[in-house]
Symmetry: C2
């Protein structure tokens, strides 16, 4: 055997550690890459499962959740798996009526608007009430060669869904509650942050090797409101997950104006959307944190040369500094061409291995 | 007559110049204030007109457009009027089928997607084809005691509507055209920027004393795409309006990451949404430009003490520096309490007169 021919087991060994090493800002052989919503509607295998099962059925059936989680691992050369689940699952045992409406998204028919509503939330035991999530994690750890990422919604984003009763454009009810009933708002965030912290710790105990908190809507807020109403609760979730001993990725969209406060809230890795150039975002945060991102999901629809040019730009901005995990700036969109997704993964590995070693 | 009792004609004289003086960063007796979408659905007078007339009918009937423009001038003590119109009106003479669907917003049944579509756009003469707008302006100038602001959509925002066929969440078709057919995208922006510049110049000739360009969706873009695909065309519109001799307000939402490039594109006054604290935004832009903003429209739903606290915070951040125009961070929302809007106007005048003179 020649020295240049690396045996495949060593290659696998390297791929297994690439993502976790990058989280800790350790040097890697190639930039690790995974995609938010890498299991989903753009894959034919996923649509086949969805023909027979609702979104909630998949989430609540460990075999199905595990199967769907594995689909992109088989189809792409990504460096991490992310558990298939929905950020609103913890609302079900809390007593909210959650359903998913085609083309509309989540609908909560019993939204939370008052202190009375907050008080009526049930006490829950995440290990028991969300046992199906922990079961899926245990099944996946037996099967996966790459690290498994667990996740939850951030307290604000989960609260915004619970208050609005679904997705929203201007988050008027959420802000109205914040401005008109701040005690109830704080009580809701406090309650949710305890539940979400418990949920992440339970996922870590079940075997996930990293976690991400998704604060998808937080960019709606101005810094002073983030600092007053959100930061303490995000901090609680992030700190408890970090104390449980795994890397924690803190992700939000539309957060250029909030990056410093979000970093203060916590996270081993900070995730950006595509708006802020990666080098600018990293400069704002400082070098003592890893970053994840940030190709525009729309770029996956571009012709291949343009797509590669845009992926290369993200890598050039990261400049090969230890601590970059390649990802999109938000989840993969429906109808994204699978061959483009696969090509980006391979391009990121090849380009970074050649230019940044 | 005592010196402290200023005669009302002098007061009116002061109010007439307050807004324009602030645009030019000259000292004022009190911070001028107006609101984006100050004529609209939140006012009973407007809803009465809408019961009998569609949005497009109001826009295209000078008497109705002028009447609706006057409604907030009578009800509030705002320091400027803004012509009632829609940013998509210029698309009609260009040959696009535009309608407004209740609860959905604008619908363009003949969207632009290819170079062929761009080539098919009709040649227009804005003075003739949008004569109803100029007529409304002339009527208003005879009636108004405060300055009249004209406006248009920025080339990107108008193009995004034309490409998507209406409002959009992710602007995937717009970005796809940008990435896959850049020549067609540039051709469309070039064509629109000529039309929009002509349109603003025609409004200025008809009598508006300032103009605003609304780039409501531009925050979707990353800086490199703004610089390549948008900035030259926004610059063309802004420069031609500035050359016509009136102050030009350059407004966008979600633009913290774009402020420097937007300022380079032009504008006498830069408008912010509520996300970036006014002092931070002003620092990024530099002191050689006036600023407009930036109370969160949702704050108008807060209880009065909280609302005043938030309005005061905006004024404190402006620190009484010449060149601040108080406004919201985006348009007034439907169902906004009119008495809260009125109270904010009076509060801004009183607080700024007392603290910043």
């Amino acid at each position: 055997m020649q020295l240049v021919a690396v045996p495949s087991t060593a290659e696998e060994e390297t791929q297994k550690t690439r993502f976790l090493r990058a989280c800790m800002r350790q040097p890697v052989d190639a930039t690790p890459v995974w995609f938010m919503r890498q299991a989903g509607r753009y894959m034919a295998e996923y649509r086949q499962v969805r023909e027979k099962h609702s979104l909630l059925e998949i989430c609540r059936t460990p075999e199905l959740a595990a199967e769907v989680t594995m689909q992109p691992i088989r189809a792409l050369h990504v460096d991490a798996a992310i558990l298939f689940a929905d950020i609103l699952l913890p609302l079900i045992p809390l007593g909210l009526e959650l359903s998913f409406s085609e083309g509309v998204g989540p609908v909560i028919s019993t939204p939370i608007r008052t202190m009375e509503d907050v008080r009526k939330l049930r006490l829950i035991d995440v290990e028991a009430d969300l046992a199906y999530v922990m079961q899926a994690i245990r099944m996946l750890r037996g099967e996966l060669q790459v690290p498994l990422i667990g996740f939850c919604g951030a307290p604000f984003t989960v609260a915004a869904y619970a208050i609005e009763g679904g997705a929203s454009r201007g988050f008027l009810r959420t802000k109205s509650m914040m401005y008109s009933a701040p005690d109830a708002f704080h009580a809701l965030l406090d309650r949710l942050s305890d539940v979400l912290a418990d949920y992440l710790v339970a996922q870590i105990r079940a075997g996930v090797q990293a976690v991400q908190i998704f604060d998808s809507w937080v960019g709606e807020l101005q810094p002073i409101d983030y600092a007053t109403f959100i930061q303490p609760y995000s901090h609680k979730v992030l700190a408890r997950a970090q104390a449980a001993g795994v890397p924690v990725i803190h992700f939000g969209t539309n957060t250029t104006h909030l990056l410093t406060l979000m970093k203060q809230a916590g996270g081993t890795v900070m995730g950006f959307d595509w708006r802020v150039p990666l080098n600018d975002g990293w400069r704002i945060l400082g070098e003592d944190v890893a970053v994840q991102g940030n190709l525009d999901p729309a770029a996956l629809f571009a012709p291949m040369p343009e797509l590669k040019r845009r992926a290369e730009l993200v890598l050039r901005r990261a400049a090969g500094r230890p601590g970059h995990i390649f990802n999109l700036g938000h989840g993969i969109l429906p109808n994204t061409p699978v061959d483009h997704v696969r090509a980006v993964v391979d391009f990121v590995h090849e380009y970074s291995a050649a230019h940044h070693s």
